[in-house]
């Protein structure tokens, strides 16, 4: 899957996730989970499950994206998530 396709998939999954959250946010590569989409930690768990279900694969290794140098990242953009997934799927293939 090329990066553009993965990005599309990320937008679609996240858009589906937040469909009923009454947000005004646009969905795009610079959209951030916490700042723009009001994510809480349970939402991140659900997002991970949504990707796992969509890609029919468990244990995608999301913690590598969520923690950098032993610290939590404060926020993530959909672009970052897409790049991460693209890299994970390329390694796996």
């Amino acid at each position: 899957m090329d990066l553009a396709k993965v990005q599309e998939l990320v937008f679609e999954v996240v858009a589906g996730l937040v469909a009923d959250w009454d947000l005004d946010a646009e969905i795009g590569p610079t959209t951030r989970l916490v700042a723009d989409l009001e994510f809480e930690s349970i939402d991140i768990i659900q997002m991970v499950v949504a990707f796992e279900e969509r890609l029919r694969k468990r244990n995608l290794g999301f913690e590598k994206l969520l923690m950098i140098d032993g610290r939590y990242v404060d926020d993530l953009s959909l672009g970052q998530i897409a790049a991460f997934l693209h890299q994970r799927l390329t390694v796996a293939a």
Binding site: V18, I42, A50, R58, N59, G61, K64, M67
Partner: protein, 530 residues
Amino acid sequence: MTRTLFIGLDGATFTILDELTSDPYGEGVTMPFLAGLIAGGHKAPLRSTNHPLTPPAWVSLMTGRNPGSHGVFDFVRFKDMGHDVYFTLYDARDIQDETIWSLAGRQGRRIVSLNFPMMAPPPEVEGCLVPGFTSWKHLRRNMRPEGLYDRIKAIEGFDPKELAWDFEREAKIGEDMPEDEVEGWVRHHLPREAQWFRIADTLLEQENPDLFAVMFDGTDKIQHQAWHALDPALRPAAPSESWLRLRALCLGYFRELDGYIRRLVERAGPDAQIFLASDHGFTASPRVVRINRWLGEKGWLTWRAAGDSEAEKRRESANFAYLDWTKTLAYCPTPSSNGIAIRVARGPGEPGVPEADYESFRDTLVAELKEMRDPLTGEKVIRDVLLRERAFPGAAMGDCPDLTLVLADYGFVSVRNVAPVVSMRATPTGTHHPDGIFIAAGPGIAPGASGRFSILDVPSILMHSLDLPVPRNFEGRVPDGLFAREVTIGPPSRRMAAGTAAEPQVADEASEAEKLRILEQLKALGYLED
């Protein structure tokens, strides 16, 4: 046409329902419809799974198999990596046996299943499925079939925030709450149950499935925090104003519930067979047993020195063992597990008990646990210690703690590092009792009362009610004399294909980040803390 109506009542017990279906205190009959149903139907106490906890018990009711086979032991699963222990949430993908929803579906029966735990992400079903224990933000994605959310959204008065599980709110279970806060708690669960009822009523009318199943869990939530207002044994001689108010509110809840049961039974029509069951019962727990504190004092567990960071503080206060994994030999992973996991060394120099010493270590542990006493009264605080190979036999047994404790008062243990090991609560809290309820009524059901049934009998009963063969590998049975019609036994239910159930995480993927992130929310599920 609906042939089988199943109403699950989380934590319902005859200790309470016997009173609410009669009028021992001149308060009026709180649940007149249920009283009539019982009078014309069949009633039995229902023995829960060996550890009477919501997820394993409901999953046993849905699969006809004990937790050692279906693989769900708790809200939270743990995996020992040697240098660390990894915690995450169980979900539907961890269930290793086929559910009755699937069994009915592939034999041509349509189903509706509402608010059962461990049903997200939702499996494919012939009909409709809305999982329980799911936050409002994730309901749409977790329903089957597609488009169901919009149908439910169209129901008048629908409010997903009222309906859904709220992690932060449910975190309060087991906390000592002032009485006015308990009132707020009870009040909160009224509209929630009304939301589930309206969905149930609508889908029962629209779908008319062969098997209609809905679970109401306000019973469990209210009993946990307001048990002292319900338990006949704790009824004060001279009740205070606030006790009377709380009592009235609780009765109000049960009165509403009685109305929901009546309307669903009426909607299902006179030809439907009606079944009610709970996943476990309820009783009073006056005592706190801090099991990891005890293991620490015995020298089998070493606490981790917590740092000052916010994340570490959060981690330490979470309801999950936060330990020095290089030195710990045995620990309780979560309060809801009531379990003790014994760590077996993977090799020389690795943390844990050497494999050759496992049996003797376990024997010592069991013997000492059974001798643990309340320093005030001298009473034993542990009723029984279950060995997993006896209590939870099956392919998934390895995921279960080595020992499961049954406390003298049936309470949940505490995993906090607080002294003393044993103490008393200010007010007894509600806890799970192994005996829940079973009620059946309708055409073809023999009226009467029986001795104890098993929760594993319920799926056999439901299959039989649907006029389907009972799978040969179901561990329960259709009790003699419940039905007029002869029972047929058929092919076994399926094991879930490898890969749909959880793969063990590889060690390097179990980072602190994932654990903290999950733990933060999972505090919410931590049962009964002091």
